[in-house]
């Protein structure tokens, strides 16, 4: 690989690497190990987690924080919500991204349209939180509705809806999922659009000449070719969704049935380190299988090329 002529001292590479390696050791490797250790300790991090065991109640000894993380009712709710986030927002973002990538390919204002869909990527979760809280806002005091959604509903003669503090947790969660789809569809669209443009034009032309409808051209030709990219995008989105925090923190703070693991973890950081860290380990444990699938897929894709 490295040309012979480029002589170097034995120490030289390490001088180039030193800063990066030290910083990564201190800021990624050390804390990861430390987190795993703390997850086996009690709330102050000084004693084994087993001290919190109450006689007569189920306890996993030193792994009691994991017992909490997997069985506590709030945590079960958070796990359920994380699962629903994955099941609903991943198809949502990838689907919207794909639809938009396919459709904008056929219009002349493609660049402008794509920029607008993509723009939320530049906005912070906090900014997006403000934007959407305003969309969902409910004027409860009897004044006129100043949030777009409730204004539309009342203009059509309906009753305004509490989008984020509804008695039904499904409504509250759906409101959050919509924000997520708004934020991330642009990301999916950009990558899928690049993949679509890589589909050989002759192939599409040949199919159209043979009388295939656009519907068939998409499902029989384009879709199979970009399927590997779709998988990569989908797995990336799964990992992003698993770690979802800011949106929930800003919009509902996990109230009214919208709790997720990362927000739960944040709430416990000060009050109970052991539990908080067990949740962090749980998060990474959930991420690893998806990463492995992703790497495998990528290797296959490389081989096919």
């Amino acid at each position: 690989m490295v040309p012979k002529i480029m002589k170097q001292g034995t120490l030289t590479p390490w001088l180039y690497l030193a800063a990066a390696l030290i910083i990564m050791l201190v800021f990624i490797v050390y804390p990861t190990i430390n987190t795993a250790v703390l997850s086996l300790r009690d709330k102050t991090g000084t004693q084994s987690a087993a001290v919190d065991c109450v006689p007569g109640q189920a306890c996993w000894g030193v792994f009691d924080n994991y017992h909490y993380a997997l069985t506590d009712s709030e945590m079960v709710q958070a796990l359920r919500n994380n699962a629903l986030w994955i099941l609903l927002t991943v198809p949502g973002t990838v689907g919207a991204g794909l639809l938009f990538a396919v459709l904008t390919d056929r219009v002349r204002y493609e660049r402008l349209a794509k920029t607008i869909i993509f723009l939320p990527m530049a906005i912070s979760f906090v900014g997006a939180g403000v934007i959407w809280r305003f969309v969902y806002y409910l004027e409860a005091g009897g004044g006129s509705q100043i949030g777009v959604l409730n204004a539309i509903i009342t203009a059509l003669g309906g009753q305004p809806i509490a989008w984020l503090t509804n008695r039904s947790w499904i409504v509250n969660n759906t409101s959050l999922w919509i924000v997520w789809i708004w934020l991330w569809s642009g990301f999916c669209m950009t990558i899928l659009s690049a993949a679509l443009k890589g589909v050989p034009a002759e192939l599409l032309e040949a199919a159209r000449v043979d009388g295939a409808t656009e519907w068939h051209v998409f499902w029989r030709i384009m879709f199979p070719i970009i399927l590997p990219t779709i998988t990569v995008v989908a797995t990336t989105m799964v990992i992003n969704v698993l770690k979802v925090f800011d949106i929930v923190f800003v919009m509902t703070n996990g109230l009214n049935g919208t709790e997720v693991i990362a927000n739960r973890m944040f709430k416990f950081i000060v009050t109970n380190q052991g539990r908080s860290m067990a949740m962090a380990v749980l998060l990474i444990a959930l991420t690893i299988p998806i990463m492995i699938i992703n790497v495998r897929r990528f290797r296959e894709q490389e081989r096919i090329r």
Partner: protein
């Protein structure tokens, strides 16, 4: 025009409809915040931002019209004995709990309110609360008629932005409290030093810049050095170290915050800028090294051989050849890291609580009852301007970086 062509154009209409409606749906939420940031507090609270171009009728005009206009006249001047455009007459009745007894009492045995529905409501003592609520817009309109009440300011104004910048949270505006000639108002000095108020967005903006610029440059510099070593230097463990590094990308940030916060409090680095720079650097490095190594490794070998034949060493090869050639990759990285750090909330809350950045300051402004949308929207937009400009200016590089990173392991 032949029918074939018309058919084709018609067939494309659904595509346009879907694309345009999606664009509109994506744009409307942000547009609402942008428009609202230029409206006065009362205007925001009483009417939707989409009415900004229409001229709204003053609050209570309609209610006054049905309840009172038949005797007092639309302008309130029809009765000389009770001229409602006279501030002194009206001053008493601008409170609903004064107005209601008067209406119940009537004049010379005749009911004061002509409209039968209103009359029934006013007379029914079991519905007092409802009557008071219904009268509130009327008494407000009486104030508007007489000129003594506060009229809603519907014009567009930049005062919310100023209020957000200096951190003004009072009931008027910073501009009114600091009218010319006033040299001090509460905690404000009414000069440029107010921009440094720790509760203001101007100060937070400065903090965000102070965090983001070094936290963008440092990882790029360190990553470029390391990537050069991985691409063009020979050392033991090169392959497995690089593989390990790619694996580090999956560590979620949340996992590392607490141990680092504890480490910082031992070292006295809590709430210091150096601390947050180093943290963001650590987290940016794996991806940055990965991307830059792939880029540098893809450069032609001959280039490096020839500069070496000319007598250069690795140090000059790095600065004179590798770095200038990798500008496109560095640009993508820089934008990613910049947006990431600028938009971050979690790290800033935990590691830099003493110097609130923009995102943190916005969460402080959120009022669950919706009382300060005028401030919140301006503050949110202040925080969005820089990343949006960066994004629009360098979109090409951003997309390129995204495509390079999307297939990462």
């Amino acid at each position: 025009m032949n029918t074939e062509r018309i058919k084709r154009i018609l067939g494309r209409i659904p595509v346009h409809v879907i694309v345009i409606s999606m664009v509109v749906i994506w744009l409307v939420p942000t547009l609402g915040v942008f428009v609202t940031s230029f409206r006065s507090r009362q205007a925001v609270r009483t009417s939707g931002w989409w009415t900004v171009l229409s001229k709204p009728s003053p609050l209570g005009q309609q209610e006054y019209g049905t309840a009172c206009a038949s005797c007092h006249g639309a302008g309130g001047k029809a009765m000389a004995t009770a001229d409602l455009s006279d501030p002194e007459v009206v001053a008493e009745y601008m409170k609903t709990n004064r107005l209601l007894p008067l209406l119940r009492q009537g004049v010379n045995g005749q009911p004061m309110v002509q409209d039968p529905e209103w009359q029934a409501l006013v007379q029914d003592t079991s519905r007092t609360k409802e009557a008071l609520d219904a009268l509130s817009p009327v008494s407000q309109y009486l104030g508007t008629l007489s000129g003594s009440g506060q009229a809603v300011e519907y014009g567009l104004t930049a005062s919310n932005w100023l209020d957000a910048l200096v951190g003004y949270k009072g009931t008027a505006t910073y501009q009114k409290d600091c009218a010319p000639g006033v040299s001090e108002s509460g905690k404000f000095k009414c000069n440029a030093s107010d921009l440094l108020n720790p509760e203001g967005m101007a100060r937070a903006f400065l903090n965000s810049l102070l965090v983001t610029i070094p936290a963008t440059l440092l990882p790029i510099l360190f990553a470029a050095l390391a990537a050069y070593a991985f691409a063009w230097l020979d050392f033991r463990g090169r392959m497995w170290m690089f593989a390990l590094l790619v694996g580090l990308q999956i560590v979620p940030l949340q996992m590392t915050l607490v141990p680092i916060a504890q480490l910082y409090s031992k070292l006295g680095l809590q709430s210091s800028f150096i601390g947050i720079w180093l943290f963001h650097t650590g987290f940016g490095l794996p991806y940055a090294i990965y991307l830059l190594r792939n880029f540098l490794g893809g450069l032609p070998r001959d280039l490096f051989e020839s500069i070496y034949l000319d007598g250069a060493n690795h140090w000059t090869a790095f600065w004179k050849l590798a770095l200038p050639l990798s500008v496109p990759a560095i640009a993508s990285l820089g934008i990613f890291q910049f947006l990431w750090v600028w938009n971050d909330l979690l790290v800033a809350i935990i590691l830099l609580p003493g110097n609130p950045v923009l995102t943190y300051q916005i969460t402080n402004l959120i009022d669950p009852r919706g009382g300060n949308w005028h401030l919140l929207t301006a503050a949110a937009f202040l925080s969005m301007i820089v990343p949006m400009l960066v994004f629009l200016a360098f979109q090409r590089y951003f997309v390129r970086g995204l495509l390079a990173g999307a297939v990462k392991g």
